[in-house]
Subunit: 254 residues, 2 copies
Amino acid sequence: MIRLVILGNGNVAKHLYTAFSTKEHIQIVQCYNRKGLSFDKEQNKGLVTTNLDDLKDADVYIMAISDDAISEVSKKLPFSDRLVVHTSGSTPMLEIDDKNNRGVFYPLQTFSKDKDVDFKEVPFCIEAENNNHLSLLKNLASILSEKVYEVSSKQRNILHVSAVFVNNFTNHLFTIGNEICEEHKVPFEILHPLIQETVKKITEMPPNQAQTGPALRNDQQTIERHLNLITDNSQKEIYKILTEAIQLQYGKKL
Amino acid sequence: MIRLVILGNGNVAKHLYTAFSTKEHIQIVQCYNRKGLSFDKEQNKGLVTTNLDDLKDADVYIMAISDDAISEVSKKLPFSDRLVVHTSGSTPMLEIDDKNNRGVFYPLQTFSKDKDVDFKEVPFCIEAENNNHLSLLKNLASILSEKVYEVSSKQRNILHVSAVFVNNFTNHLFTIGNEICEEHKVPFEILHPLIQETVKKITEMPPNQAQTGPALRNDQQTIERHLNLITDNSQKEIYKILTEAIQLQYGKKL
C-alpha cells in the first residue's frame, strides 16, 4: 500500500486524484488546498484540509501546485525526511526545500478540466535523490501508466521546451487555421484528416522527412498568393517567419 | 463505367492510379507522363504514353501535375469539349484552358511516395462548370472516399492557406521539437502521446479553447528560461513570435 497526500486542486491534482482513488494499492490519506475544495461529491470532507500543519503521515506528498508556489509550500511543510515531489515540467527538483527527500512526478500531457484522462498512455517523467525513492516513484507511476521514464531536471527542461513547440505552438497554428476557415465560411473539419495524418506521419518517420509544402518547394507564387489572402498581421508574420525557417533549413541541406 | 486518363507521375498521380486501378466501375484507359514511366510492374506499358497527341478518349482527364504546368498542358491537349480536371489545392479552376470543360478533383491530404493512402478518410474538394460534371466528379470521388465536398476555387484557396498552417508549419514545429530533443539526447518519442492528445482535442473543442502553456499564462520566468535553453536563432525567433501571438490573442480577450 502506498499512502498519498495530494496538494493542490488544479487540473493535474484533480486528474491524479481521480485516477489514484480507484487503485487497489493506493490510499489517498488526505488532500490539501487553500479553499478546502473536494474533488468530487464522494470525497470525504474530513480528508480535505486547508491547513498545512494538519497534514497526515504519508509515503509520498504530491505537490500538484503552480510552479511559483512549489518552493514556498515545500518550506511550510511541518515535517522533514519524508518524500515530497512536484508535478512540474519546468521546475528543478532542487526547488523543493531540502528538509525533505525530494522528487519529481511529472505526467507529460496536456490536461483539460472537463476531459477525462487515460493515464495508461501518459509518459511519467520521474526523478528522485536516491534509488529507493526512485523505485517507489517508478512503482507509483506504473500503477497508472505503461510509460515511465527516469528523467533528470535538465532533460525535463528540454522536454518542456519541446512540448511548448509541439503542443502550445501547434495548437496556436490550429487556431489560426480555424480562424482563416471561419472568416471565409469554410468548415474547418475538412482539415481534420490532414491534421491527423500530419501527426500519424511523425510516428513513422522523422518529422524533417515528412516536410512538404510551398516553402519547401520554394514556390514563391503560391507563397505570395497566400500572403495576400491573409488579412491578420500576426498571422501574416507567422506565415513569413515559418516559411523562412523552412527555406533556411532545407535550403542548407539541398 | 467511368473511363479515366491520368496525367502526371508524382505522388498524387501514383496514389490515385493505385486506388482507382482496383475499382470495379473505373477503367484507367491511359496514363501520360513525359518519361513514359509505369506506376507499377503490372501496368501494361502500352497504356502509358509520352505524347499528348496520342491521348485516348475518356470521360475524365485528371491532370495530377505540378501547379505551374496545369495551364500549359491543358492548352496542348489535342481535343475539346471533354472534362479536364486538375488536383491542385491552390490553382483556380479557370487556369485550365477553356476549350475543354473544366473541373477540380483535389484530395486534401499530404501524400508521401512510399506510404499507402487510405482514401476513405481523405476529403475530396470538387468543382465543375456545370451540374452534370459536378455529379460525375462527385460519383468519382465517392468511389474512393466518404468525404466529398463541393468547394469553390476561392474556398479551396482558403483551405490551402489553412492547410499550410496546420500541416506544413505544424510539421516544422515537430521538427524543431525533435531537434531540441536530439541535441540534448532526450528521446523525442516521450512527446508522441502529447502530440496525439493535442490533435485529439481539436476534434472535441475549438482549438482556441484548448490553448495552454507559459505564453497563455504569461509566465515570463519560464519563457525566459526556455529562450536561454534554445541555441538555434531560427528556433528562438519562432518561439518569440508565437509566444507574442498567443499573448496578443488571449490578452485581448481576457
